[in-house]
């Protein structure tokens, strides 16, 4: 008993000690990390790469392959991959910056661009690349490169990058007597098809547009607005232009789909499961879902097809982009050089080859999918790639909202869609209320 008492008090004392020393150590070690800068490229340089693909079981291997191949080519550069969560990325970055740890290069969603550039101090590519800028990026889709521009400067480069795609279940099409080779091209046709399929298959849902939750983001909503001639943010980025005919028309279309039952009442995740399970006929979602959908279709014995985003009658579709881009934050000269090498590799031919074939996103270099390109065969086997790349020419940048409330403003668009789909509030009222709310967030 005595012994036990003694052990017990020893542990108590130890714990107290630990907590006290924990307190005192505070000021010491932060200086050490910033040492060891300046030096020529032969010297060993270590850079940190924040990536949410590393935190994705399906993309981890491909992302690690990118890092490993790069390090094999550049033995003097060590890339440390830091796995971070996508949905809490901004908070993580701020926590690390508060701790004095700035990531050298980071994979962030496009919608964080304004925040990264203006609040976190991202380094423009022009500054990083110097003379090599034109040479490095000449082989890329000019529209793809433009996605990373804010004003005249390129703050990020598309990394894992995707476009909207209308997935459809060809087997369900056939069951309703529809020709799967002739997918709907306009929203009117989508409605018609959805209702026909629902009629022929009780219990099956017609269409789901993936804009209904934070997990999918608001980028497809932006595309719908642009495609109907609407606008979101003024060019000087100070006025919300949402309250216009184009937006109202686009939202009215969604309301019509919901009212006639063509668009089901599913949450985003439920819709995805329903589609993969063969219970949803059409699904407008990111092209990045293709691999999962193809597997599910094969297992479920139905045929998966993909088509371009549907248009508003008589208007041209304006696709927007989703996915992520690479941002550079390091202020250290030697690290900048190393980061630039890394970016050259990742956005070069080999990089996009891995990104496309191993991670499932789109190659931003057209030459890769042409005859003789590294992805030529892959593109032949995966016809959906052509559908997506064809949209590149009409691509428009997803708005990254400015100011402190950028995330709340992104969520505002989702709230708008939710109210359109799940309530009976008049469409004009919803749009103007959301527009006012967004303007208030922008001004505050």
């Amino acid at each position: 008993m005595k012994l036990r008492t003694r052990i017990f008090s020893a542990i108590l004392a130890a714990l107290t000690l630990v907590s006290v020393t924990a307190c005192g150590q505070e000021e010491t070690s932060s200086a050490a990390s910033s040492a060891g800068s300046a030096g020529s490229s032969e010297e060993q340089v270590e850079i940190t790469f924040y990536s949410y693909s590393l935190l994705n079981a399906g993309q981890k291997a491909g992302t690690q392959q990118l890092i490993d191949e790069f390090m094999a080519e550049h033995p003097n550069i060590k890339v440390t991959g830091v796995a971070v969560s996508n949905s809490d990325m901004a908070a993580r970055l701020q926590a690390d910056m508060a701790a004095g740890e700035v990531p050298d290069v980071a994979q962030l969603p496009f919608r964080a661009m304004d925040f990264a550039a203006n609040s976190l101090g991202a380094v423009p590519m022009e500054e990083l690349a110097g003379d090599e800028y034109d040479e490095q990026f000449s082989g890329m889709y000019p529209n793809g490169l433009a996605l990373g521009k804010l004003g005249d400067l390129t703050y990020c480069l598309p990394f894992t990058f995707s476009t909207p795609m209308l997935y459809y279940n060809a087997t369900l099409f056939e069951s309703a007597g529809l020709d799967p080779n002739d997918p709907p091209e306009t929203w009117d046709e989508v409605q018609e098809y959805a209702l026909a399929i629902k009629e022929a298959n009780p219990g099956v849902e017609g269409i789901h547009v993936a804009t209904t939750g934070p997990s999918s983001g608001e980028w497809i909503a932006q595309s719908l607005i642009y495609s109907n001639g609407g606008e979101i943010l003024s060019e000087d980025r100070s006025t919300i232009l949402l309250d216009n005919e184009g937006t109202v028309g686009a939202m009215q279309m969604l309301r019509d789909l919901a009212e006639c039952g063509a668009h089901g009442t599913l949450t985003e995740e439920e819709a995805q499961e329903a589609f993969l399970g063969g219970n949803l006929a059409m699904y407008l979602q990111s092209s990045a879902l293709y691999a999962s959908a193809a597997d599910a279709a094969e297992a479920g014995g139905w045929e998966l097809r993909g088509a371009a985003e549907p248009a508003f009658a008589g208007k041209e579709v304006v696709p927007t982009n989703s996915g992520s881009a690479l941002f550079v934050f390091t202020q250290d000269e030697a690290k900048r050089e190393a980061v630039w090498e890394f970016i050259k590799f990742v956005t070069g031919e080999r990089g996009y080859t891995i990104i496309t074939s191993e991670i499932g996103y789109l190659p931003l270099r057209p030459s890769l999918v042409e005859e003789g390109g590294a992805l030529y065969e892959y593109a032949q086997e995966n016809p959906q790639l052509g559908v997506n790349l064809e949209q590149m020419s009409r691509m428009r940048q997803t708005v990254s909202f400015p100011g402190e409330n950028w995330q709340a403003m992104s969520n505002g668009l989702i709230e708008m869609i939710d109210r359109i789909l799940w309530t009976e509030d008049p469409v004009e009222t919803v749009v103007s209320e959301i527009a006012a709310q967004e303007q208030a967030l922008l001004d505050s």
């Binding site: 017990f8 108590l12 924990a22 505070e26 935190l55 993309q59 981890k60 796995a83 990111s286 879902l289």
Partner: protein
Amino acid sequence: MESTQIYSRPVRMGGYVLLAVLSLVSIFPLVWMALNAFKPGDEILYFSFLPEHATLQNFKDAFSMIPLGSMILRSFAAAFLQMAAQIITSVPAAYALARWNFKGRKLIYGLLTISWLIPFQATMLPNYVRLVQMGLRDTVMGIVMPNLASAFGILMLYQSFNSFPRTILEAAQIDGAGPFSTLMRVVLPNMRGAVASLGVVLFINCWNEYFWPLLITRTIEKSTVQIGLRMFLSSDGNLWGPMLAAALISCVPILLLYLVLQRQIMDSFMKSGIK
């Protein structure tokens, strides 16, 4: 020693029915999860009950796609350390609150009540900065450090210490031993059930923690099992099979702990019964 009372048939029947119904409702999702973990690929999406072609593929995938083994080990180490530290700090604190009516006791009680309500977000950033400066990022200690003491644990134990049977307390008084050995020799042995129950719960709390380990770890190899489970879920398609397989495996350590400690809990009742 045991309750010798025989309860009437309707009462016992009522007991069996209620407990059986609650057990069924409780166990069903786990059964469902286990069955699905053995379903191949996307059979999971097709809402059948039993797997048509049972397979171990999901388990193989779970282990090959994420470092599940080391994640479980780290989770276990963190949860065990944290639980042990919380018990060690909670027992004397709860004892002090229950035993002495000292000046400031009410204040301490109030402070503790407030601190168990504090949302993690409110303390996260400064704690993170401090731990990074201490060089504890990416370590088990970093996960455990901010939670070495638990207001929840103290108040739970205080609660049990308060409803401690009086007869035993009086027996302890006669002993005349100092407060520390009273705690160790009389109170703790009799409170083993309460301490063990609390231990299970504190262990599970830490085991299920997601956001703090996510913040404090940098590499997948040094992450915990809850982070591993979420790695299978993303907006680009969820990998249900491996996720459920990994989740099933991750239940095993807690289940074992519960079974071991349940024996402790039962033993303690028998002992106090004898006394």
